[in-house]
């Protein structure tokens, strides 16, 4: 296992300490239970936005805490959902009196832990809503009743809902916006390499020098299918076609295209992938009006990419464009 770490047990805590000392102007880090809050939390009269999930997906979610995005994030152990007590404490810390929205990625563990936390928070008198993000079209069979995974769309939902909350929309309204994002966005991902969970000490899966996994999630789990590696153009077609057909996206649609790196893929490749996405969508008459390119929701050091498309309208575009100031996303201020 090759990592810049001290001890597998301490990776999450020490990375949090690094974030804390780097971004003291934007965030505060609380330990035991672990959560990251906006430096100015709670913001009175504003809906509080909480997300969380296993660590190993950085910058998600902690890197998205700040003005115009999340109020708090709960980091779990690597690839392990955080626990209800973390979420409860974070919920309390960001409740500015207008209620709290939990943005939950659809994994059994995340959903159950957030459910328990919401129950506990409600029993303490805090109004809590939850939206479960499930955008991964790689998981398509309705027999598999855990449902689709939550992946790249989560980042877009956090930004857009963050803007809505910052504009002092009500809990009801922010929740609606989040549901809308979830209903209008789809993702799919692939991997060239596995990643290594620090505790496990060896790659989660073995893969040949000429192979790739299509339809992966973000936890180093194997994908839906293994095949010989293909060109970027072919790979993009394998990712984008199921996305376009699923919603479906139609000619004339305006979309936000998010080309994400899985952690070990360099930016030069992401731009090359974006170029293919752009060509393919324009052949379908779909117009990219906003974009995000970079490694924003990762699987440790996995090499690979995911594509997320979100159908935009005026409301979502405006919320996307609104100022944001977090460790990992920043514009307009």
């Amino acid at each position: 296992m090759k990592k810049l770490i001290n001890h597998p047990e301490n990776v999450v805590t020490e990375a949090l300490q690094g974030m804390e000392s780097a971004h003291a102007d934007l965030i505060k880090v609380h330990y035991n239970p672990n959560y990251i809050v906006r430096a100015d939390a709670p913001v009175s009269g504003k809906v509080g936005l909480l997300s969380g999930g296993g660590s190993g997906h950085e910058p998600m979610h902690g890197g998205f805490v700040g003005y115009g995005m999340l109020d708090a994030a709960c980091p779990g152990a690597v690839f392990t959902s955080p626990t209800p007590d973390q979420m409860l404490e974070a919920t309390k810390a960001i409740n500015g009196g207008a209620g709290v929205l939990h943005i939950v990625k659809n994994y059994t563990g995340d959903v159950m832990n957030f459910e328990m936390a919401a129950d506990l928070a409600r029993s303490e008198g805090i109004e809590v809503e939850a939206v479960v993000i499930d955008d991964d079209v790689a998981v398509q069979d309705s027999l598999y009743t855990a449902g689709r995974r939550g992946v790249g769309l989560t980042v877009l939902a956090e930004k857009i809902c963050g803007a809505a909350a910052e504009a002092k929309h009500s809990l009801q309204e922010v929740t609606e916006v989040c549901r809308k994002v979830n209903s209008q966005g789809r993702s799919m991902g692939m991997a060239l390499t596995s990643c290594t969970v620090p505790h496990a000490g060896k790659p989660t899966f073995e893969i040949g020098e000429d192979e790739m996994e299509i339809g992966i999630g973000i936890h180093g789990e194997p994908g839906r299918q293994r095949m010989k590696i293909k060109t970027a153009a072919e790979i993009v077609e394998m990712l984008v076609k199921p996305i376009v057909e699923d919603l479906p996206f139609k000619s004339g649609d305006e979309v936000l295209a998010f080309v994400n790196g899985m952690g070990g893929t360099p930016l030069i490749e992401l731009y090359l992938v974006y170029n293919e996405v752009q060509k393919l969508l324009s052949a379908h008459g779909i117009k990219i009006t906003r974009h995000l390119i970079g490694s924003y929701i990762t699987s440790l050091e996995m090499a690979g990419t995911s594509v997320t498309l979100l159908k935009l309208d005026d409301q979502l575009t405006k919320l996307w464009d609104a100022p944001v100031k977090t460790p990992a996303l920043r514009w307009g201020m």
Binding site: G76, T83, Y144, A146, H199, T204, H219, G220
Partner: protein, 210 residues
């Protein structure tokens, strides 16, 4: 013979040991069809339980089980945290103020625990989850009780049924939890949660014998 508070505490200690010994094994199973953390998750949780046990050394069985459950909920995370946590919390519900469990008490407790897992996780039998070890274990326990087996024999038959249930997860296609994302590729792999559930029930057998 009944299950005393001491036996229950030894149960948790032996389960923690068993998890420690099988940590890498559980993680390997989870690597194949999940995210390579089940061993680490359970280990983190049971270490926390170990350090909490002294605080309930004098408590009734309900409090012991509830403390175990709450500790697991707040330290494990993932799917297994709320599931095992709920399991113990629900087991505790009928055991408050009890200083020992009869076989019947234990059957009721196990039934309540499993109900909790189903309520929380909404899994069915054959979905390739811990339920596939626990439910047969409960059935065997009831059958043993009906046929008048001793507590120890009943627990042994229950653990054996859990082992069989665990083995039977291998050919299943997963429909719940992370393994379900793999579709057909989940077939041929033993479920990690069913494996740890068997370790749990086997540890009780060992605790009774010790």
């Amino acid at each position: 013979m009944t299950l005393s508070r001491d036996v229950l505490i030894r149960w948790m200690q032996l389960f923690a040991q068993s998890i420690e010994a099988n940590k890498d094994y559980l993680t390997d199973l989870d690597s194949a069809i999940g995210d390579a953390d089940h061993g680490a998750n359970m280990h983190r949780g049971m270490q926390a339980v170990l350090s909490k046990l002294p605080t309930v050394a004098e408590s009734d069985i309900g409090s012991i089980l509830k403390t175990v459950g709450m500790t697991l909920v707040s330290t494990v995370g993932g799917a297994s945290g709320p599931l095992y946590g709920t399991f113990f919390i629900q087991m505790a519900s009928g055991a408050s103020n009890k200083m020992e469990l009869t076989l019947e008490d234990y059957i009721n407790a196990l039934q309540a625990g499993i109900n909790g897992i189903v309520m929380r996780g909404k899994a069915h039998l054959q979905d390739k989850t811990m339920l596939d070890a626990l439910q047969p274990a409960l059935d065997a326990l009831k059958q043993a009780a009906e046929s008048g087996a001793s507590l120890q024999d009943a627990l042994e038959q229950s653990a054996a049924a859990a082992a069989a249930g665990r083995d039977a997860t291998t050919p299943l296609l997963a429909r719940k939890g992370r393994a379900s994302y793999l579709g057909d590729r989940s077939i041929g792999h033993q479920d990690p949660g069913a494996t740890s559930s068997h370790l749990l029930l086997q540890s009780l057998v060992d605790a009774v014998k010790a």
